[in-house]
Every structure is written in C-alpha cells, then in structure tokens.
C-alpha cells in the first residue's frame, strides 16, 4: 500500500521532470532534468523491488546510480569544453 503510494509519487515527479527536459530553454535545464530523472529511476527500481517482493532489483538500482553520476559529469564537461552548446554570438543562450 505504502510502496504503491511511493511509486505513484515517483512517477508523478518523473512526469514533471520530463516536462522540464522537453521544455527547458537551455541545455543545462535538460541535463539537470535527466540527472534528476536518473535519481528517480533509482528510487522507482528500489520501490518496485519491495512492491513485487523481489529486492534483488537493488543491484540494478546501484549500478544505475553509478552510471547516472558518470553520465551527468561527462555531459556537463562536454557542454562546457566544446563549442556545442556555447552561445554563437549575442546573448542568446546555447542549446543543442
């Protein structure tokens, strides 16, 4: 019962995060939204493990947390040190 409530709250938050990832005006909004979506995926995998009575899913959650961290760092460094995503003149913010 409580696990289902937590799963529903996580799914609602995932919808809000995907809205920001699609709408977000700058590329940094999208990176932030994807990072948060990864954290919510970790929570959802853990809660689903308890909901289904199979906590073995926690291994997947652990690996997903690691990959999410490395991916976010890599993408933000890529956007910072390449010209993709830089302003191309004027004060318009860069976007992919």
């Amino acid at each position: 019962m409580m696990f289902a409530f937590a799963a529903i709250a996580t799914l609602v938050t995932m919808v809000l995060t995907v809205y920001r990832a699609i709408k977000g005006p700058t590329v940094y909004d999208r990176i932030l939204a994807v990072n948060t979506f990864g954290t919510l995926t970790v929570v959802l995998i853990s809660v689903h493990g308890f909901l289904a009575g199979r906590p073995e899913f926690l291994d997947l959650a652990l690996v997903y947390a690691l990959i999410n961290f490395i991916g976010t760092i890599a993408v933000s460094k890529y956007v910072e040190y390449s010209h993709m995503g830089r302003p191309s003149g004027g004060d318009e913010l860069g976007d992919i």
Binding site: M2, I8, T17, L62, R86
Partner: protein, 117 residues
Amino acid sequence: MEILLDAVSWALILVGSVFLVIGGVGMVRLPDVFARMHGAGIIDTMGACAVLIGLMVQAGLTIVTIKLLLIVVFIMFTSPTTTHALARAALGGGARPQVADSPADADAGEGDSPSKT
C-alpha cells in the same frame, strides 16, 4: 515493536513521497536553471533519501539494507558533485542567475525566458 517499525518506515516513505512531488513542482515552476537546481536538490536529498531510508527500516537487518545504505551514501556524495559541475558549466556557458531588483520584478518573473542580466 513490529508496529512501531512499520509506522516509522511508513512515515519516512510518506514524507519522502511528498518531498519528491514538491521538488518536481519546483523544477517546473522555478524561474531559471540555478533555481531549478534547488528543486533537484530537494528531490535528491530529502525525497530519495527519505524514501530509501524508509525502505531500509522496512527491510530489517539484511543484505538489502546494506545495498540501500550504499545507494543512499552514493546519492549523498554524487548529488552535490553533479550540481556543482553543472553550475560551473552553466556559468561558463553564459547562463546568469536571475536577480530580482524589486519585488515587482520577482512577481513578474516568468519561468520560460532565459535570464539576460
């Protein structure tokens, strides 16, 4: 004792779920990227960690608790690190925090335009 542990874990899961939704609403409604990092921080620390600690209380002393503890510690380390790297990248890429000069500006701040200060 059983009922007490159940109550504690349900309270933690309930509080965590509420904070997850609050952080999600913050990510949609806050005006610029630096403010939205605040909503993401609420989701990462208060929301996810409260839900996972509630699951730890539910699981008892097993290997499941160790794995959940690893996930919580990892989120606690990586969330500030990613936010810091992303804020540096955003500053280097030309995004500036939206600064309200007067309360009227703060009220008129619409969420979709990038800050031009």
